[in-house]
């Protein structure tokens, strides 16, 4: 927010148009990282629905969802988290400054999600019984990161 304002003032002084603003409001990075989490949630939802018995188990669909989780876990993170795109500096994000202050911890928690995604990939086609425990494992890695690095919503 502050940064936003300072940038606006600077651009106004230079007589720059609003198009240049897109560079500093990080909207592309926010869309990309928030979108990746939505892809994760949607695919986890497919697996969770089967584990809960809300939808019928289907090995192929389960495998595709788990493969997607693994694919997302391989997306490189650093470019989506530029310095200054935390929730104390700009609006529209729940990313805590701790992501930059304790970046090793953040990346290691991302790595833990990748490990759990591989576990669910290995279990997905093996029947509905195997889904529950690995769902719990994946969910634990989501919450472990949200615990420290994501603020509650507004």
């Amino acid at each position: 927010m502050k940064k936003h304002l300072a940038a606006a003032v600077a651009f106004a002084a230079l007589g720059c148009g609003t198009a240049a603003m897109a560079q500093t409001d990080f909207s592309a990075e926010l869309k990309a990282r928030q979108g990746q989490f939505r892809i994760m949630a949607i695919n986890l939802g497919i697996l969770g629905g089967m584990a809960q018995g809300k939808t019928e188990y289907n090995a192929e669909a389960a495998q595709a969802a788990a493969d997607t989780l693994v694919a997302i876990s391989m997306v490189q993170q650093t470019p989506m988290w530029p310095a200054g795109s935390d929730n104390m500096s700009i609006d529209g994000t729940r990313a805590q400054p701790t992501i930059w202050e304790q970046n090793d911890d953040f990346l290691s928690k991302w790595g833990d999600f990748g490990t759990a995604a591989k576990a669910i990939q290995a279990a997905a086609a093996g029947g509905v019984e195997g889904l529950g425990p690995v769902m719990g494992q994946v969910g634990g890695t989501c919450s472990a990161c949200h615990d420290t690095h994501r603020a509650p919503a507004n």
Binding site: N87, H146, N154
Partner: protein
């Protein structure tokens, strides 16, 4: 208007306090505890539901290390930073030398063995509704917990809040033996009420506070600003939390919302605890939330 009322009451209470010494800390009446035998297995359930370890374990511990109640976690508030003390069974650094009466006075009345008031960062305003049997069971479980010699650290709280006696006035205003939900329609809702209002102290985070840091019970569980940074702790009233009871129970077990987002912030510790409780407890909490006005 509300604030005026509270401050007015505070003034009256302060005068009464000065005049009659009502802010002195009185320990618990121990007679109801006397005949009760403690069951450590039941005490463990009380321990988990009440989240004692979530605050009193050392910072960043996981798994069984959470049973070492060495203290050290910091709790920021408008009044300063409180640091959870060592409550392990160490007789010097912890509470190993305490009696059951000392323990019950602390948990249910917020009174220390040397007759001081505790700060309400220790959520005894909720625990005051804990049943005597549960306190006795909890203490029995305590005897099975490990000792740790890490000394407790002083709170970082400035004047006038560093005067414990002033907490006596605060207690007059905010300590109550009444349930927020006066009538529980079914035994399940009654169990949920006990878990939410007494043990798991959900209101401490999900209910907004007034100027003096007391819970605004007229906006019970209606959501509150996040005390440690940005964002809002969500409302749990049926109007705002539209999830069904099965979805609420599933969230408490797994941390997954209906659209498979995953819980974050201080709610993670609550989910970690509730995952270990019987399914019927999670269902009772859901039934209670659905019965809120």
């Amino acid at each position: 208007m509300r604030r005026g009322l509270v401050l007015g009451a505070l003034g009256i209470a302060a005068i009464a306090a000065a005049g009659f010494g009502v802010t002195s800390a009185t320990p618990i009446d121990s007679s109801p505890l006397a005949g009760l035998a403690g069951d450590p297995a039941k005490g463990e359930i009380v321990f988990i539901a009440s989240g004692c370890a979530s605050c009193h374990a050392a910072p960043d511990t996981e798994g069984d290390a959470k049973l070492v109640l060495a203290g050290g976690q910091r709790f920021a508030s408008d009044f300063g930073t409180f640091i959870a003390p060592n409550i392990s069974s160490d007789p010097e650094a912890g509470i190993g030398a305490w009696s059951l009466e000392d323990f019950a006075s602390a948990v249910k009345k917020g009174v220390s063995p040397d007759g001081q008031h505790y700060y309400p960062a220790f959520p005894y305003t909720a625990y005051s509704l804990m049943s005597d049997q549960d306190v006795v069971d909890l203490w029995a479980f305590w005897q099975t917990l490990p000792a740790d010699a890490t000394p407790s650290q002083p709170h970082e709280v400035g004047f006038p809040f560093n005067i414990r006696r002033s907490v006596g006035v605060w207690k007059l205003l905010y300590m109550t033996d009444d349930w927020v939900m006066a009538e529980a329609a079914t035994p399940e809702i009654e169990l949920g009420r006990y878990l939410v209002e007494a043990l798991a102290h959900c209101g401490e985070c999900h209910t907004p506070r007034d100027a003096l840091g007391g819970l605004d019970r007229s906006a019970w569980l209606a959501g509150a600003p996040n005390p440690t940074g940005r964002g809002t702790i969500p409302s749990l009233t049926p109007e705002d939390l539209t999830w069904g009871p099965i979805e609420i129970a599933y969230y408490l077990e797994t941390g997954f919302t209906p659209d498979f987002d995953s819980a974050g912030g201080h709610m993670v510790a609550v989910v970690e605890n509730f995952a270990k409780l019987p399914a019927s407890d999670r269902e009772a909490v859901a039934a209670y939330l659905k019965a809120l006005p």
